[in-house]
């Protein structure tokens, strides 16, 4: 009985966390974008524009839910839900603090990677269900991008799993509590970089936001969505940013441990620092062309991550 209650409480906490973060991150993104471009950003709605995300949310919720003619009704409406739903599950096995853990599974890493793969399916459904050839092409490119970058993501994560000998987030965090230099980013810097770049590509973020850019230019997988459908995709994107930053913090940056006063504040600090760096990247780099995107993945990230993996395996075998 108690584990069930624990799980339900954790789910409610995580959903609240995601919702709040959705609001905060939208505001922070727009403010950061503004400041980098030397302009104020949202300012009028509420003091310094603090109520802007609420106004945006109200607008999205209040809009009419339109479905194009000939669109597949089920697929069309399942796509945004499928994009947003796995986020809660992805955040469950991640330890936010020494005693803040939703679900203690010894395959936490596998769980997160598996469920974040459902986002790819949501893109497929959105593109196909829209009955729009441009949406379909946009979705096909988005899926190609996501699938391609899954591989270096997994390979870099495997390196960490090799060094720690476990797929459980709790064990990985525990192996990094021996001081600042025991963090995996110092023993696996290349894996951290590959993970971060692949994570950016997985969440359709920063220089790899071809699916979203297409919707500004010609069309993308979420062309036909307005109001809440788009809102869910949008929220899902920010939530996946949190998931990916949380996983990166746990795997490479030591999770909730810090050189002094370890606790959940360190975890949150690391997550938000990584998210700010993602935003920084977005407003620095131009968008990558589709063939350049796949070339980076196939010609650079995969060979590098394979070499890293081999090197790690070699060193571990020599040490043991």
């Amino acid at each position: 009985m108690l584990p069930l209650v624990h799980l339900i409480v954790a789910l409610i906490a995580i959903l609240t966390f995601i919702a709040l973060n959705g609001l905060i991150l939208v505001y922070v993104e727009r403010k950061v974008a503004g400041f980098i471009q030397r302009r104020p950003g949202p300012f009028e709605v509420g003091p310094h524009g603090l109520l802007q995300p609420l106004a945006d949310a109200l607008k999205l919720v209040g809009k009419q839910l339109v479905m194009p003619r000939g669109a597949d009704r089920i697929l069309f409406w399942v796509a945004p839900l499928l994009s947003f739903a796995p986020v809660a599950i992805c955040l469950l096995p991640i330890p936010f603090g020494p005693h803040l853990l939703g679900l203690d599974v010894n395959l936490g890493l596998l769980l997160v990677l598996a469920f974040s793969g459902l986002n790819v399916l949501a893109l497929c459904l959105a593109g196909w269900g829209s009955n729009n050839k441009y949406a379909l092409l946009g979705a096909a490119r988005a899926v190609a991008q996501s699938v391609a970058y899954e591989i270096p993501l997994l390979l870099s994560v495997l390196c960490v799993a090799f060094t720690c000998g476990s797929l459980s987030f709790v064990d990985i965090t525990a192996s990094q509590t021996r001081g600042l230099l025991s963090w995996n980013v110092f023993s696996q810097p290349l894996a951290f970089l590959i993970f971060f770049v692949s994570a950016l590509a997985e969440t359709n973020r920063a220089p790899f936001d071809l699916p979203e850019a297409e919707s500004e230019l010609t069309a993308g997988f979420h062309t036909e969505y307005s109001g809440m459908g788009f809102g869910l995709f949008f929220l899902a994107e920010y939530s996946y940013m949190i998931v990916v930053s949380a996983v990166a913090s746990v795997l490479f940056l030591g999770g909730w441990s810090g050189p002094f006063f370890s606790g959940h504040w360190w975890m949150l600090g690391k997550i938000y620092t990584l998210i700010l760096i993602m935003m920084w990247f977005r407003w620095t780099y131009p968008r990558v062309r589709f063939d350049q995107l796949l070339n980076i993945c196939w010609k650079w990230l995969i060979p590098l991550s394979l070499i890293n993996l081999l090197g790690t395996a070699l060193i571990i075998n020599l040490v043991r």
């Binding site: 400041f35 980098i36 471009q37 302009r39 104020p40 920084w280 407003w283 620095t284 780099y285």
Partner: protein, 178 residues
């Protein structure tokens, strides 16, 4: 490797820009300091001796050249009757007045004295192209720096420029008296 280093350089550039102050002039909390360089709607220029009398000679070149038909001019030759069918100012947006000989631009060698009775500008249509200012032979039109305009209806942007000239003259008189 140079490519990778350029990525870091890019990050440094945007990082520095983040910390720099805004370039935006945050109206209405701040205002622009060089308002004279702004191009607002046109205003009439008075003669040197009499601030209430415009330089305008009612040649109607500005009315003719305006591509958006924003300007409507009322004038008369002293001594003659004012043109009968059009007494009051007409401000009809987007409707061309029927062709009338009385509203044709005056020939360049015509030396008849004309008096301006009314000069209306429909700022809803004006594109600030400046053809009117450019084509005035006596430089009776100039751009104002009246840029902080906000209104709730189209009527708020239909200006009576002759009245504005007189108001400016009146306020200058008040300032001089004070």
């Amino acid at each position: 490797m140079k490519g990778l280093w350029s990525l870091i350089v890019g990050l440094k550039v945007t990082g520095k820009e983040f910390c720099r102050p805004w370039i935006t002039v945050h109206y209405p909390r701040q205002e622009v300091t060089n308002l004279d360089t702004f191009r607002g709607h046109i205003d009439l220029v008075p003669v040197l001796d009499d601030p209430e009398k415009p330089l305008c000679i009612v040649c109607r070149r500005c009315e003719e050249v305006c591509p958006s038909s924003c300007i409507r001019i009322e004038g008369h030759v002293p001594g003659e009757e004012k043109e009968a069918p059009v007494r009051q100012l007409l401000l009809v947006s987007n409707i061309m007045l029927p062709h009338s000989a009385a509203r044709e631009p005056i020939c360049a060698t015509d030396k008849t004295l004309r008096v301006l009775d009314g000069f209306s500008l429909n700022y809803n249509l004006c594109s600030l192209c400046g053809l009117c200012v450019q084509s005035c032979p006596v430089s009776s039109l100039t751009f104002s720096s009246d840029v902080y305009l906000a209104g709730a209806s189209r009527k708020d942007f239909e200006f009576d420029l002759l009245q504005r000239l007189r108001d400016r003259a009146g306020s200058t008189k008040l300032k001089k008296a004070a």
